[in-house]
Assembly symmetry: C2
Homo-oligomer: 323 residues x 2
Amino acid sequence: MKIDAVIGIDIGGTFTKYAVIDLLANVLAEGSMPTDAADTLDEYLDALSKSLKAVINKVADKADIKGIGIGAPCGNYKSGSIEYAVNLKWTQGKVVPVVELLQKAFSLPVAITNDANAAALGEMIYGGAKGMKDFILITLGTGLGSGLVTNGELLYGHDGFAGEIGHVRAHANGRVCGCGRRGCLETYVSAPGIVRTVFELLAEYNTPSELRRYAFNDLTSEIIYQAATRNDYIALKAFEETGKILGIKLADAVAHTAPEAIFLFGGLAKAGDYILKPTRESFENNLLKNYQGKIPIQISSLPEGNVAVLGASALIWNEINKK
Amino acid sequence: MKIDAVIGIDIGGTFTKYAVIDLLANVLAEGSMPTDAADTLDEYLDALSKSLKAVINKVADKADIKGIGIGAPCGNYKSGSIEYAVNLKWTQGKVVPVVELLQKAFSLPVAITNDANAAALGEMIYGGAKGMKDFILITLGTGLGSGLVTNGELLYGHDGFAGEIGHVRAHANGRVCGCGRRGCLETYVSAPGIVRTVFELLAEYNTPSELRRYAFNDLTSEIIYQAATRNDYIALKAFEETGKILGIKLADAVAHTAPEAIFLFGGLAKAGDYILKPTRESFENNLLKNYQGKIPIQISSLPEGNVAVLGASALIWNEINKK
């Protein structure tokens, strides 16, 4: 007898990963293809369709495909489109109705959302948020993304773009952000954010630091983490300041949605206690009294490599369950 | 034939107001009683039950009472209790299971929430948010309260206390707040908040101002508003600064929940354009680009005197409709 499964797709700037996944998060088959080889939407969809058909064939004898879920930058659940994604050249920065196009091609239910929302769903269906109805997942990568789950559902808001905690204002006239404004949280709390913080600290202090050997272009959050494990003062201080800002803004987020728990995911979260400890401390110091000691912040329990794909599969499982 | 109606109750620190209200927000009968005359829970409930029975009798020939909705400080929808309300002495600062007690007394569906949430429901069922599924209502009174509606439902969060935007951090080491922390938004943006701002401005500037005649204890937001209508520099600047801070934090709130519109209600909101104009300007300047120009901030359209009672009735209509 065949088992029910779905396809999860993670459209990243460089690669598109996809997998056939069952309800227990078992990956029955998987693959990847370049995202950036295609110049036009038609080219990209052609390549994607071929890849998906190949992976569906691979499991044809054991799995019955029920739907397709997609996580993508600027993916809008409500419109079913990728909207103004500057990092996906085949979208030409326009609105691309991906859901409609794949529904036609595969005659299956299709849904899309952004990567952080997909990760939040992944956490809810397969990860540490299993059984929770109100939680926040924060992705700490190139930017700071957030997925807010309230009352058991992703919070999409009026236009489908709720959950942009990376763009709350951390400092009135702070660092220049990719969004065109200044002082957004993600200019401090993200992989590039902590690199910027290190450079500020290197300028402020005279303390010796192995990080003084790196040019801005060469420094990564991974290198900062490695330095921290060797007790490098600047690296430790950078994590401390990053956690401090994150804790304040997570306390503000609690004042909005009152979650049961907060999960951190992505590159920076791999630094474990180096980021977690100062974040928790600042978080508790900034929480309203009735929340203090009640809301754990923890590292996501999802397997790093597959989370976006798992999240995308969770999205479509969720849609199918609604029916 | 009798029409369907509910009872809305607004438990304030000084008075408890109540009214019998139909689905079109018509007040069929109303009344009020002192909140602070009772020293114990039993005394308060006795008085309340008598008052409610009297008002029910008054409409007995024309209305069929379907339920009771309550708006109260620290009213928790999820637990059905008033929790740790320091301003209601008969609660003795404890958890009081009001819903259970009134259900027993009246054999009717009963629901409770806090005042800002009740006002948000009122706005949704009777006011400017009719038909909206995602909006924010801000009450600007003694404090800053907020009711967040997402996907057509009040956002309660895990513990029932979501929507505490008055306690997001406006300044790291800012003004002392009643909650025991510093820098909370409501220490700047509320009726007492603008009084504090005026006193800072009077200290900072040498400009003549009619507000220099007032002691701190005598100054009110109403007096500041009147001075603003006479072009008093300090009064105008106080509204400007208040709106500036509010606009920044409303932009942050949009980054969380992406509402369709924001409504302002309460004492300070009566200042109209004096508060609205600087708030809107700062809001637009601080919004992510994709939200700019799309989210109106407007003064609540609900009648001031009855809003809390209307909101409480909206709460119970909403519960009844769920069934």
